[in-house]
Symmetry: C2
Subunit: 207 residues, 2 copies
């Protein structure tokens, strides 16, 4: 019943619909885009939309899922190599991927679609990061001073914040390599160092 992906017409139709969704959402915001807007921009009949996706949300979900699959595919080669160290290769790969799929990343990071897309993206990143941190702790025989779950969430939070800034800055402020280095310096050494201070930060009382 759903069209077969092997057919050239199907591939073309889906590509057009996805591109139309992304560009329209960046222009007007997700809520302001109707199915008819999408099919009109894609130059397709409205009925065609419903033979591929159940609704707008479904289309968005598939865009995000495909993007995550593609990213996972790229990160796979790094899985057992340097990741236990701190080379930043996975982070760099994400910046590169985001550069290629800039509009889709911008749509997601803006939180379009009631944040569903961003939650999906964040959840995948957080899970991956937690896995790496856990493996690192086991491999290097160190005990994390802060729970791995919190560590992973905070890391993804600052990573996505910097990625978002980088993607929305016009003109592009730096190369993916520089952006990654900056992010890793900040994240690993901390804000006391990043602010320009030397040595250890003063103890926290957080009264």
């Amino acid at each position: 019943m759903p069209p077969q992906a092997g057919d050239r017409r199907v591939r073309r139709t889906r590509r057009l619909l996805r591109d139309a969704l992304v560009s329209l959402v960046l222009e007007r915001g997700y809520a302001a885009v109707t199915v008819e807007d999408i099919t009109e921009r894609a130059d397709l009949g409205r009925a065609t939309f419903y033979s591929h996706y159940t609704d707008k949300d479904d289309l968005l979900d598939r865009v995000v899922t495909d993007l995550l699959d593609e990213l996972a595919e790229r990160l796979r080669p790094l899985e057992l190599g340097s990741e236990v160290g701190f080379t930043g290769k996975p982070a760099l790969e994400i910046f590169r991927h985001a550069q290629e799929e800039r509009d889709a990343y911008r749509m997601i990071l803006r939180g379009e679609g009631d944040g569903r897309a961003l939650r999906q993206f964040t959840a995948a990143q957080t899970e991956a990061a937690a896995g790496v941190f856990w493996a690192r702790a086991a491999h290097e025989e160190v005990t994390p001073r802060i729970s791995v779950e919190v560590l992973a969430r905070a890391w993804v939070g600052e990573q996505l914040a910097v990625l978002h800034w980088w993607l929305e800055s016009q003109p592009r402020p730096m190369e993916p390599e520089e952006a990654t280095k900056m992010l890793l310096d900040l994240s690993l050494r901390g804000r006391y160092w990043a602010n320009g201070f030397e040595g250890e930060p003063p103890a926290q009382d957080a009264q």
Copy 2:
């Protein structure tokens, strides 16, 4: 033409509508909530809604704006005191505020409303943080090693990630004071320290 806020009926109506919005959004998600759902839960006529707010988005915006105003009011006393140091008082105040307004914060941090609420919240926090960082650099006569804008965005990113985790964890994992201390330790000292390592992190090549 819009009802006067002084009237007791008006205060009651607005409070009911806001509470209804927040609880419904947490249950079903923003997009799945209709104006009639809101007025039904608030036990008000649908027409009443439109004499206070132009639409669902307007109501959400006002919830967020009011929350930000309330938070700013609480942070004001700290503005010229200890903020130049690293006491974490502003961060603690945010955790306390979030604890009191837990549901509203959860709605916002989930990115409901196409991320508009979260963007508004993030923008306000980022601006405030950038101001503090800038003042600190001037006061202590240090030169930030990373641009203040990026620093502010990354800080807000990790702060909101931890706050989100803390608010969604069931049961509440720790007191606001502990959560703040953990966040500040992580943020100021960095992930190398947080992971359990001693000394300086290895240099980044981020090839």
